[in-house]
């Protein structure tokens, strides 16, 4: 059974290879092949899952060693896999949601002439993501880590003829590379400290606090940097909004459900390292809480439906990072929220894609309105996702988010109070911006207009291949949280890997739930008052200073542009100049002066016998003079 692990990765990898190298012959069947191989991966995952369930809790770690990858003196990197409960959770999420989104894409990308390639990229993504969660050492994880970055690059820039898409893709890759630098330094630190970077020995050593506190903090902070890049956390969050240039299924799969959560996986996986370094954990919770507010505020101001959802994704991952930074109190809930978020956010994105599909790819919510009548299935599934994300009682988000808020309070002390309050505030803002999205899209009056070429949009329900995945995901959004929480199933499932402790909450769980409900209602009501009671203007109003800043992603891009892009341009330009004039100039100058000297010397050879005679006589006279001088001395 364990030997099947490699197949999990191999199936989509094969798909990617065949689809990308296959050429036009495969255009007709490419999408089916891609979907089939993704489904195959899911089926293998389920087989392994049932096998795993049949074993006792301590016996659930499967390993598979494939081959020795980089054998160098003192350095051992292997291609070998480790499948435990944490990885299993991800495998099912990735291949399951992945397969649904493959199915959805069959319909969504139907009219795109490069659909085969799209499926090739999707399969490549699945392979890389599965490699990421299945690796048993950090270096192999790094391969998956950059692999998903590549797939994300290719998919964001899938419509490369649009300069904005190409720029967004490049930006995503570059920002991620900054994070990757962190991961690579973390691996180097592990190697020099422990002599290895396989999970088991590193985590064991970290548990025993070997290597010194400063080193462990260094490793943890570098891992956090990596996580910030991949999971779009402050200060490396700026790429996620732009990444919405990619096709919507990509946003759903990569930039909502799976890839962006890899940072959370990394932190939870390296739990022992973070546990050993309270300083690093403090930084993690700060990053998490800042991002959770940052994303939420940005989400409130965006009129582009996908960018609003992207802000929301950022914010929800902020919750997960916050939970992961809390240590053993929060790990399980971080992952639980990750899974439920995977369902409802993917569902929301697919819903948004369905709306765009019916609206001639219009993304401005101010030009939607009243769509509930035209797209009932989309409306219902999107609505369920909406209820789940704001934490409506009984739905998935309620259970998982509530637990995180609880855990934040349970951190204890002033810190606990601050974190808990931030999480509550975030919940209120979440309710506000999601209600805004919901109202602007599906309620109110219809506000759409003919586009520049005079095509009036004709909103219509999407085909079955698109609605069925949405329905399945809506089921997940509704029931997953309850299923996980009843009898603490999810907790018991993950506990052997991540550990769990309860902390000491200053207020009871019921109080937290009640408070959550209160802020939820406040958020919804505020949004209703602003967008439901009054008509939504088609042209965006100027807005307050904060709104305008939030529309520009709180000026992060402007900052980057001024400091990094401009500064970098000036630096490279002046370096090019220096290289040409100074470094090259020194050499060319030497050459020129030698040339000049020889030019002057050449003038002596004028061909007149007399001048040669003069120099001869002069020379003779000199020699005689010198001889006499020597004699005299």
């Amino acid at each position: 059974m364990e030997n099947l692990i490699a197949l999990l990765v191999a199936a989509p990898l094969l798909g990617a290879a065949v689809l990308l190298c296959g050429g036009r012959r495969l255009d007709r069947v490419g999408h089916l092949l891609g979907t089939l191989l993704s489904a195959a991966s899911f089926v293998i995952g389920v087989l392994l899952f049932t096998d795993m369930l049949g074993k006792s809790a301590d016996d659930r770690t499967f390993t598979q060693h494939l081959f020795s990858w980089i054998p160098v003196e003192g350095f051992q990197a292997d291609v070998s896999f480790q499948l435990d409960q944490l990885s299993m959770t991800f495998v099912l999420l990735i291949s399951g949601v992945g397969t649904l989104i493959h199915i959805y894409s069959i319909g969504y990308m139907e009219h795109d002439e490069r659909r085969r390639r799209f499926f090739g990229y999707l399969n490549l993504f699945l392979a890389a993501m599965l490699l990421l969660v299945l690796a048993d050492n950090y270096l192999l994880l790094y391969v998956g880590w950059e692999g998903v970055g590549l797939a994300s690059y290719l998919l964001i820039g899938f419509w490369q003829h649009k300069p904005s898409a190409a720029t967004a893709a490049k930006k995503a890759f570059l920002v991620n590379r900054v994070g990757d630098m962190g991961l690579s330094i973390a691996i180097m630190l592990m190697f020099t400290t422990f002599g290895t970077f396989a999970f088991a020995p590193v985590l064991k050593a970290a548990e025993e606090h070997q290597g010194g506190g400063a080193t462990l903090t260094g490793i943890a902070l570098m891992l956090l940097l990596a996580a910030c890049g991949k999971s779009a956390q402050v200060p490396l969050q700026s790429w996620l909004g732009d990444a919405m240039e990619g096709p919507t299924p990509v946003s759903a799969l990569i930039h909502a459900a799976t890839m962006v959560t890899a940072g959370v996986y990394l932190i939870v996986r390296s739990g022992a390292v973070f546990n050993a370094s309270p300083d690093a954990q403090l930084v993690v919770v700060i990053v998490g809480s800042v991002t959770l507010l940052f994303g939420a505020i940005v989400g409130c101001a965006k009129d582009d439906i996908k960018k609003a959802l992207a802000g929301s994704t950022m914010s929800q991952i902020g919750y997960m990072v916050l939970a992961a930074g809390l240590g053993p109190i929060g790990y399980v809930f971080a992952i639980m929220h990750l899974v439920t978020h995977g369902f409802f956010k993917a569902g929301l994105f697919l819903g948004a894609g369905s709306v765009m599909h019916g609206m001639n790819d219009e993304v401005d919510m101010r030009k939607y309105g009243a769509l509930r009548k035209y797209m009932p299935v989309t409306f219902v599934t999107f609505g369920l996702g909406y209820l789940a994300i704001i934490g409506f009682p009984g739905l998935s988000g309620f259970f998982s988010k509530d637990k995180i808020i609880e855990a934040a309070f349970a951190k204890g002390g002033t810190e606990g109070w601050i974190l808990g309050s931030v999480a509550l505030l975030g919940a209120a803002i979440t309710a506000y911006y999601m209600t805004r999205v919901m109202i602007m899209t599906f309620f109110g009056e219809k506000r759409w207009q003919p586009d520049a070429e005079g095509h009036e949009p004709h909103p219509h329900e999407s085909p079955k291949s698109m609605t069925i995945p949405m329905i399945v995901l809506a089921f997940g959004s509704v029931f997953a949280g309850g299923f996980f929480s009843i009898g603490d199933r999810f907790l018991h499932w993950l506990e052997p890997v991540t550990e769990h402790s309860h902390g000491n909450a200053p207020i009871s769980a019921t109080t937290v739930t009640a408070a959550t409900m209160v802020v939820l209602v406040i958020g919804v009501v505020l949004a209703y008052l602003q967008y439901g009671r009054r008509p939504v203007p088609v042209a965006a109003p100027r807005g307050s200073l904060l709104t305008r800043a939030a529309r520009r992603d709180l000026l992060q891009d402007d900052f980057n542009h001024v400091v990094l892009v401009r500064g970098g341009e000036h630096l490279t330009r002046s370096l090019v100049y220096v290289d040409h004039t100074l470094v090259d100039g020194v050499v060319n100058g030497t050459a020129a002066s030698v040339g000049g000297l020889s030019g002057r010397l050449r003038k002596l050879q004028n061909g007149y016998a007399r001048s040669y005679a003069v120099s001869m006589f002069g020379g003779a006279a000199l020699i005689v003079a010198a001889t006499l001088l020597m004699r005299a001395v």
Partner: protein, 523 residues
């Protein structure tokens, strides 16, 4: 006496060069096929060397030794260690692709008129370079090495100056002047380096009494040959200077962008992927073995120079407007990594550096040759003249992207393995330098992706709208290179197994041991 395999590997392309040059003027195609055939046969011989070489065995294998100039103790001595075998294999592997990629580069522009035979000359010169590079990798006699180290400048000079890129960078009217400037610059830089090395070679003879690498290294190791500290340092600097010019290391790098920019793409590959490797190879073989103490003495300065090369090369690559010059500056950055790995003096660093030489050869060849195909279609080297190529030539764009991704060391492709090894090897001894070098990976992503974005994506420019996609000959060049990149990225073990023992011996020559992990050291 057994069959002189190493001599044969070097002599075959040399004979092939003469034969190719002798092909009658009218039979141009025959000359091309002959050259290709010879290069493939050389590849076969190199493969035999690879098979016959036993990684665990003696340090130098397949040795040949004959007396040559008795009065000066110069011998014809050949022998290979794992590092040399890997580089010979790389050279022999790349030449057929260089020839195939340059198939039409030397066709005479107007038919009939000329008495001289450019096509024959072009391919003969390439084979000549191959022969000299191979024998440089094989020579274990310092004087023998020096002769071919210098002699390869002659064919390279003619290849750069005589067969320039017909697509010059827009604004320059006088392409021929540019080209001869580049060729002369290449020659002068390398000659100056070579002359200083000659002085050091003579100095070494005065001190040691012979030229045999093995004898001198052994005598140095067992203490029977004593060198004064200052003597050793001067001799080391003499050798190192020549290799640093060849490699090229900042600030001796400026000849490379000119040469690579003005030469045709296959010749540019020949420069950076094959000829320059002799420089870094010689650092490992000659500098470290002959002058271990001086190498350690100079390490801090060299590491800083390498670091500057990495960052500086990458930053300049970002600022380039010419595709080929961009690749040249990227190569300077990569050579910085190689030198860093060599002088970090750890087994990861040196194994990584050797692997880097191989991988950089393949990845730059892939990127540069595809860039060459692109340039030959549009007739311009300026990045700004392109846009939206992926729409009209998706296969070309795809292979270009893979070449670019290899250049930025994407995991899964070969350069990642070597780059990471170099970084780890450097980090374990010099953490700060390791961290700064890591910035190189962000800059690499920047210049590669900016290049790809500006040339391949966006709206299709009218001038490129009719570009044909890759042809069969071009695919035959690119696909094997990409396959090699993927294979060595996933399974580099064959190369590391070859290289590891040699690196271990080199490290013991300089009396350096890998730093122990902090946890073990504490115990």
């Amino acid at each position: 006496m057994s069959f002189p395999l190493l001599t044969a590997t070097a002599v075959l392309p040399a004979v092939g060069a003469i034969a190719t040059a002798a092909v009658p003027a009218a039979r141009r195609t025959a000359a091309k096929w002959l050259a290709l055939l010879v290069s493939v046969a050389t590849l076969v011989l190199a493969a035999v060397v690879l098979v016959r070489f036993e990684p665990g065995g003696d340090r130098y294998q397949l040795t040949e030794s004959h007396s040559w100039i008795k009065d000066f103790g110069v011998r014809y001595e050949l022998g290979v260690d794992g590092i040399a075998v890997a580089l010979i294999a790389l050279t022999a592997l790349l030449i057929p692709f260089v020839i195939l990629a340059g198939w039409h580069d030397a066709d005479p522009q107007e038919t009939g008129s000329s008495r001289w035979r450019p096509t024959q000359g072009f391919f003969a010169l390439i084979l000549g370079v191959e022969a000299m590079v191979i024998i440089s990798f094989e020579a274990t006699d310092v004087f023998l090495f020096y002769i071919f180290f210098e002699a390869m400048l002659i064919p390279m000079y003619f290849l750069i100056g005589g067969f320039g890129d017909r697509a010059h960078s827009g604004s320059d009217e006088n392409a021929a002047a540019q080209r001869s400037y580049a060729a002369v610059k290449f020659l002068l830089y390398n000659l100056v380096g070579g002359l200083i090395m000659l002085a050091a070679v003579i100095g070494l003879y005065v001190v040691a009494g012979n030229f045999s690498l093995q004898e001198i290294a052994a005598a140095r190791a067992n203490g029977s040959l004593h060198m004064a500290t200052s003597t050793e340092r001067w001799l080391f600097l003499g050798f190192f200077f020549a290799f640093a010019v060849k490699a090229p290391l900042w600030p001796l790098h400026t000849w490379l962008p000119n040469a690579m920019g003005e030469a045709t793409a296959p010749v540019a590959v020949l420069i950076t992927a094959v000829v320059d490797k002799v420089g870094t190879f010689a650092m490992l073989r000659f500098c470290l073995q002959l002058f271990p103490e001086a190498s350690k003495w100079a390490t801090p300065v060299i590491l800083v120079l390498a670091l500057i090369s990495i960052v500086y090369g990458a930053l300049l690559a970002v600022g380039q407007r010419d595709i080929k010059r961009l690749v040249a500056y990227a190569s300077i950055s990569h050579f910085g990594f190689i030198v860093l790995g060599i002088f970090a003096m750890t087994s990861q660093g040196q194994s990584g550096a050797t692997l880097y030489m191989v991988n950089h050869g393949i990845s730059t060849a892939a990127l540069m040759l595809v860039a060459g195909f692109l340039i030959s279609r549009r007739g311009s080297r300026l990045i700004a003249d392109y846009g939206g190529v992926q729409k009209v030539a998706p296969v070309l764009a795809g292979t270009f992207l893979i070449g670019g991704l290899a250049t930025l060391s994407l995991p899964g492709l070969a350069p990642f393995v070597s780059e990471f090894l170099v970084l780890v090897g450097t980090f374990s001894r010099y953490p700060v330098i390791g961290i700064i070098a890591t910035f190189g990976i962000v800059l690499a992503a920047l210049y590669t992706l900016v290049l790809y974005q500006r040339t391949m994506t966006g709206p299709v420019k009218p001038e490129v709208s009719a570009l044909p996609d890759l042809r069969v000959r071009e695919l035959a060049v690119v696909v094997p290179l990409i396959a090699a990149l993927i294979f060595l990225g996933v399974y580099p073990k064959p190369v590391t197994d070859l290289v590891n023992p040699a690196v271990k011996q080199t490290l013991s020559d300089v009396h350096k041991k890998d730093p122990k992990p902090a946890v073990e050291a504490a115990k």
